[in-house]
Symmetry: D2
């Protein structure tokens, strides 16, 4: 049972309400980061109890969530949710959002060149990693804080919002100041300390699916963020581990309609990391559009042969431009268009 | 090394050629079912040997195939191959072929009703199983020969070519007389005795991917058919086994561009068996069209709640019609159209 | 519901009984190959119906099987079953049976040399393939009928019972005359035509687990054999497909206690094909003994570097002798010993 | 290339050495937490360069590591390494170490009762979680700091060393003061921030395999710890994700000999979390001993039906005692015994 509170409820009223529920045997606790928002009871409750709670002062509505999930569930929120970045770009509506850029931030020049080329092709978000979780401690780990500063400079220069990965709870604050959206990577999907910390930052969160996570585990990871009161969550399918060595991972396109049946959260697809092969990025991107995803995350690098990270999968700017042209046609066939930031917001930013 | 022979070569010349090659240490053996066609040597050979072979009498051309695959490889045949059914319908060209129908043949009435409705919606092949490989010996195993007769009657009545599964080498002859295309199912992909037998039948073969087969194993299974001399092979991706219980299998859409990079064979997708969920069939079908597949295999049943086999995944005729309308739009966006049989052939048949 | 009939029941009485059950709405059908044995009803039935059936003439007992499995289930037969070969060797009792030999039969000399060395080390069954299911049609496929003849000669010469794989229903008769036990390989576990045919042969069957089969699917495959009336089934775990390339397959030792909780059938382990690595065979063989398996299937080849099939995993006779010495110690620690054929039978055979 | 330095080398000499190497184009960087220890170059270098480095002042030895791994590799350290806890108990020698206890710490009484019973049965390490990484944010997450205090009290009371899981880099210091060994759980195996932090703590580390990690990824995770200078790493196989729902995970016993061929690190097995089934713990524990593991991690709970976490897999004290009796026999068969702490150390501690 989720008890949604009046927006203007006083702290004292919340405490009294929690006490009343406790006296009735309900372990409801406040969800969210200080913002009076909602109480989540540990278990489902009978209808007559819900009726009683509904009439307590300060309660706006009471929602029964029959399945395993709560805040991420369509039973809790039937309409699809959207996540809006600072420049007004909305993820999860009829618009389709393409985030593109280098796997790792390498230099200001390369970042600007990539940003300009992907924007020209129709991307509206710049992706780039300052902190790279690498399998080997001897691989390039990203530029760290210097990379974050480059991202910050680039978003100011280009006006493109930036999404970047965070790998340590201790880095959340630094990155929250320098990026528009925080990515939790596949290897950290069940790093619950990190999920809570990005949740509390209040920033939009891009939550990649663990490469061996079930959809249930993925939605529970989203619940860790949502239960901090941060509702700005976008899911990203990026391939799961299978036995076939043809591709680095197996892109699970079915995950999109499966998630959408269970949850109101937006879902995008990463065709670059799932396949690990440049030649597969375009067909998988078109499949993503056709299957109902809300966007893409694409590796683009002006000189992929020299990339410090995952160059085999990065598109050249020319290949990306070609992909976007084909993508527009498939999107039109499913009654969608590329998302554009809200113009007034965009003007203000400029 | 593959030695393609002159079409009009005499048997005696073949024997002499084989002998000459053997004397040179090459274990070339005739591929194909009696039809003088080609010799396949067990190993790659140096360029000077190929040159020598090329000039032997009766040799049309000599092909070096550097990878693991031979007859299925794009190195052997760079242009994409096509498979043409008796009514002139071509699988693997610019046309996109939809085969639809009930999982299992149940009665003449149901089969005719389904055939009429799927044809009206744009399907050009009727699918239906007379022999069903079922996990449990206590499940409905199909009508057997009676089901095959129903398929034969229905293709004569409706003019729709029929594809049906064969599970036993001993049934190949019976089914080859009653169907237009023989399907080898996922559980039999490495049933090498069956592959050889369907190959020798000379009928077009629909080869489903084993649910835990690598793409390499799948192409080797195709080689078993091709090496009998039967070049009429269409591959079908139908989902692979993963750890996620959300769907029955995980549809591997990447398999389509991966196969097309390695092989000239057409590839279609089965969104029904991969997901096992009616609500996923349409989005997965659209993804199949976008990713570059050459067609679909779809379960349709007029009364799916009463279906004797896999009713949970069968579309109603109305749902199928809706799918086809959306499919036409996505196909147009990737410059394809629904395939149509060759009209003169069709006329002749009628 | 399973209705076990009197051993001496007349055919007419069976027919009458089937009719009576049919009149009561029960679709019971005779299981077994001509031998009056049992009727298996498609569904569970209420207790009062079982009571009524129990009292019909010709009925010996009625068993209710609550789970999915029937003839393989411990609910049907609580005591562990055993399979006895012609020389009296019993698989599934307190004895632990080791079958060893070359992956493929290559020559009479090699087979005899291997048989003598594995017998000297304590193996009591000779394994060897005359028909090899190979991923590629261009790999060595076994000697076929000539290989089967070699096995037959060798079992007569050495007195060791022989287990060999059958891949085509059409070969069952030939191999049943030349071997003591028929193996259904991992790629054919759901080749239902083959399962029925080996069942009908009446020979002991070694049923390998499909490399991506669930335990449920494996037991259902056993049901296909058992429902022909052939109760001589031994299961063999041989590794399942996973994402880790370190080993060819992942040996699932848990399968042994999982199967033993569900079923009365004996289970052995193949440490050679699961790992594909010679250095892992011994530790995995010891783990098999410790986890409760009833035996082993081990590749041994006197000159593994020159083996025509799977040489990387074959032990030398010296390595096998070393394995057996360690195995005896672990078996003693779990109160088991190496199985020995029944002496009188053995004498009679000689 | 790994450059091992003289133990008494001065900081200035290290800096000069690094500079010299840098001038020669080698990106060697200091490994370890302040303790002058070794320089690890990013790449392999030719023999003449190694020779030159070997003669630089302050260099003790130079090791070429041909494979992917460095500090964890048997090429770097051919002899098996051991990890010794504060009480002198050694993991990785001929002794076999059993760590047992409740999944989660619940109360002082329960912890003491469990500690006493598992010690009486032969366990020499107490396991118990104060911080539990749970899939759902609504599940019991452990007692946190209070649980850590209970563990600290219990180890002082009983003298049993304690291993406990750490899930947040921010908790490492608190837990390092209250436990003898820090566990990194399966969901955090690639939480590189956490690996570095536990490495820097200098405490012995128990590194569980990610449930979908390759052995290569697992050893790279160990490299993250080792490259901080902390050599006290024990690996723990705890089951990998497969498609079969019979067990929670599939225990990969082959991982033990595979790791031991590549690495000098000790490896133990967790039969409780891999199977998730109480009835499988004993057979899997015996298989672990037979396959060559160095120890076990076993869930034991006096009242498993009431356990707050994973009660289905916890053994009762009686079942654990029975397991240990059987284990002793299998260990004897492979020439091992249960490990005992070093007596003088133990006395000193008391």
């Amino acid at each position: 049972m989720i008890v949604v509170l009046d927006r203007d409820i006083a702290r004292a009223d919340i405490d009294r309400l929690t006490e009343d529920l406790g006296a009735a045997g309900l372990s409801a606790k406040l969800s969210g980061n200080g913002d009076p928002w909602m109480l989540v009871a540990a278990e489902q409750v009978p209808g007559r109890v819900r009726q009683w709670v509904r009439e307590l002062p300060g309660v706006s509505r009471v929602v029964d969530v029959p399945g395993k999930f709560r805040l991420s569930s369509r039973d809790f929120q039937p309409e699809s949710s959207t996540v809006t970045l600072d420049n007004g770009l909305t993820i999860g509506g009829t618009g389709f959002v393409v985030a593109a850029g280098p796997c790792a931030v390498e230099s200001a020049e390369l970042l600007s060149a990539t940003a300009d080329s992907v924007r020209a092709a129709g991307a509206e978000v710049l992706r780039g990693g300052a902190y790279k979780p690498r399998t080997s401690p001897y691989s390039f780990q990203g530029l760290g804080p210097a990379g974050a500063d480059l991202l910050d400079q680039e978003r100011k220069r280009s006006g493109l919002p930036v999404v970047t990965e965070v790998v340590d709870p201790g880095d959340v604050e630094l990155l929250a100041d320098r990026a528009d959206m925080l990515q939790v990577g596949t290897r950290n999907m069940q790093n619950f300390a990190l999920l809570s910390e990005v949740g509390r930052s209040g920033k939009p969160v891009l939550l990649k699916r663990g490469f061996a996570a079930t959809i249930e585990e993925w939605l529970f990871a989203a619940e860790y963020v949502l239960s901090t009161g941060n509702t700005q969550v976008v899911l990203c399918e990026r391939g799961i581990r299978s036995y076939d060595p043809s591709t680095r991972f197996t892109l699970d396109v079915s995950a999109v309609p499966v998630v959408k049946a269970l949850s109101h959260l937006p879902v995008i697809i990463d065709p670059s990391h799932s396949s690990g092969r440049r030649d597969l990025v375009k067909p998988l991107a078109l499949a993503a559009a056709a299957v109902g995803a809300d966007g893409l995350l694409v590796d683009v690098h002006p000189e992929s042969a020299a990339a410090l990270c995952d160059g085999d999968q990065a598109l050249s700017p020319e290949e990306f431009t070609d992909l976007m042209a084909s993508l527009r046609r498939v999107l039109a066939a499913v009654d969608r268009t590329l998302a554009r930031p809200c113009e007034p917001l965009r003007a203000r930013e400029a």
